[in-house]
């Protein structure tokens, strides 16, 4: 009698694990989570869109297509693209070296990799600006080569690349770690060159992770403010980023214009977030399936 009862239990659980709520706290945790998310996230975000919608299409269009604002879109998007491309290459190299090789200082290198996430952006900003200033540690040598970084769009790229460096490293690293060596070893033993095996066998597994990391890096760079403003020089039409543009409009007490530009930025951010999530979901499914 007792044994049949015991053996029935797991079978029952397996048949309906999704609907049965054995654990306590569903109502409480759902309530707290929904309350918090509504109050902290959804209410302020809908406030922005309602504000922007209230100003009328014509004025909205006029504000967001102001030539100075359009110039700032271009600067931001181009710099973010350049920074995330750099991070894709540099991040792949770092992830590869951290996973594949043993060398003294590897753990230290691994630990310092998250510095850009932990360091406040304003600190990163003044540090990079000082390094790349004309008389700075790097700036003085770059000046001899005729390269100006501080107070140019190149400075924006440097700041964005710094603050979003860990994304590609941290998305590629686990994929490299879990990669099965059989195919790679087989191809190598058949005499294929390193480059061929890398391109034909490793890259097909790695590139979704590189794209994910690159997209995260791009999204972060689009909104970067603290690190950028100290090194950018912030001259209108040349080196103003979108976030700064919103700040400038706020300082002019032009709330409608600030809201309109912010609504554009917010829409792009939310779309990017959605695309990255869908992409990750699909890519994770493939990993689990294969």
């Amino acid at each position: 009698m007792a044994t049949t009862e015991l053996s029935e239990r797991p079978a029952k659980r397996l048949s309906a694990p999704a609907t049965k709520r054995v654990l306590p706290g569903f109502g409480l945790s759902l309530g707290i989570s929904l309350f918090f998310i509504s109050l902290v996230l959804l209410l302020p975000i809908s406030g922005l869109f309602i504000r922007a919608a209230g100003m009328g299409w014509e004025q909205f269009w006029f504000v967001i297509t102001d030539p100075r604002v359009v110039a700032s879109y271009k600067v931001t998007v181009l710099a973010a693209l350049a920074a995330s491309l750099f991070n894709c290459v540099f991040g792949l190299l770092l992830a590869w070296v951290l996973v594949r090789y043993e060398f003294p200082g590897r753990r230290l290198l691994d630990a310092i990799m998250d510095l850009p996430f932990a360091l406040p952006t304003a600190v990163a900003g003044i540090t990079l600006a000082t390094l790349f200033a004309e008389n700075g540690w790097y700036g003085q040598y770059l000046a001899k080569l005729g390269i100006e970084v501080a107070f140019t769009p190149l400075g924006i790229v440097v700041a964005m690349a710094f603050t979003s460096l860990p994304f590609v490293v941290r998305t590629v690293q686990p994929v490299l770690e879990e990669m099965a060596p059989e195919d790679e070893e087989a191809a190598m033993s058949l005499g294929a060159s390193d480059m061929t095996v890398f391109r034909k066998i490793l890259m097909p597994t790695l590139w979704p992770a590189i794209v994910t990391g690159g997209a995260l890096s791009f999204a972060r760079s689009l909104g970067e403010y603290g690190a950028v403003i100290f090194i950018a020089g912030n001259s209108p039409y040349v080196s103003e980023v979108i976030s700064l543009m919103i700040f400038v409009r706020l300082e002019e007490y032009d709330f409608p214009a600030a809201s309109a530009i912010a609504a554009v930025v917010m829409t792009i951010s939310l779309l990017l977030l959605l695309v990255i999530n869908v992409w990750q979901g699909r890519y994770l499914k493939r990993l689990q399936g294969g």
Binding site: V22, S33, F90, Y101, A111, A122, V123, T127, L273
Partner: protein, 276 residues
């Protein structure tokens, strides 16, 4: 021959050495040198200069305000993060996926936009702000506003650390606890917490690092009034713009110290998790 059979890409000594060399050189230039610069600049006027810069009246006030904001923000986001992680990893319900996407929003939003969201709603001509204004309550350009935007910016961190771990651990242990008659609180303290404490610690440390260092969102809602609503990162900006570079880097060195502690805690947490 046996060694050749197990050769993998990039195994040749030349490739290995050059890749490691390149990675180390780039990391030195890109990460270590900036870190070194902060401390070199902070101590440019010697130890005495450093201490006097830190003991500057406004810098001290900024340190106090920053700690106060972190003290309110971190526990709030810790409690929320634990509840959200419990919800999405222990129960299946419609909208679960949406909830985990929503929680990522603060990561995707520019900090300046984040600040603006709260300014529009709670500022003197915002919906809530106008109503509060009638009762002489002002949230923006004072510490409550700073706390609100900091909560917004840092709310995903604890949940983001906990969710993957709790998903991986599954709910069998907790279900066993329920069968044995544990109450909800006992279950959390005796079963869940011991399993997640390291990830929770790192989530809290990360939340703290970001709360202490938030710049863009705070600068929109704070008004940067010296000695009143100036947090440490804003004080760094003010000093830097006053051409007091040494003072700015002295203040920065405190923030960099918190960043370094965060990295050390992360390394310890990962080491402990890999041992289990």
């Amino acid at each position: 021959m046996a060694a050749r059979k197990h050769r993998r890409v990039g195994d040749s000594p030349v490739v290995r050495r050059s890749l490691v060399g390149l990675a180390v050189a780039l990391t030195l230039l890109f990460l270590f040198m900036p870190l070194a610069l902060i401390f070199v600049q902070a101590f440019a006027e010697g130890w005495a200069g450093y201490v006097s810069n830190i003991l500057n009246e406004y810098t001290l006030h900024a340190i106090g305000l920053t700690l106060f904001v972190a003290l309110l923000t971190v526990p709030l986001n810790m409690v929320f993060g634990v509840f959200l992680a419990w919800l999405v990893t222990r129960f299946r319900f419609p909208g679960r996926k949406l909830l985990t996407t929503l929680i990522d929003i603060p990561f995707a939003v520019s900090p300046v936009v984040a600040g603006l969201l709260f300014l529009l709603l709670y500022g003197s001509n915002g919906w809530v702000g106008q109503w509060l204004g009638e009762y002489d309550i002002q949230l923006m350009f004072s510490w409550p506003g700073i706390v609100m935007v900091t909560v917004f910016v840092t709310c995903p961190f604890v949940a983001r650390e906990l969710i993957p771990l709790m998903q991986q651990q599954g709910r069998e242990e907790e279900e066993a606890g329920v069968v044995l008659g544990a109450s909800g609180w006992q279950l959390f303290r005796r079963v869940t917490l011991p399993n997640i404490r390291w990830a929770l610690l790192y989530g809290v440390i990360l939340t703290n690092a970001r709360a202490v260092g938030e710049f863009g969102a705070v600068s929109v809602v704070s008004g940067s009034i010296r000695g009143q609503t100036n947090t440490l990162p804003l004080q760094v900006e003010l000093l830097y713009q006053d051409y007091n570079t040494v003072g700015a880097f002295a203040a920065s060195s405190l923030l960099a110290g918190i960043a370094l502690i965060t990295l050390v805690v992360k390394a310890i947490v990962e080491w402990r998790q890999s041992r289990n």
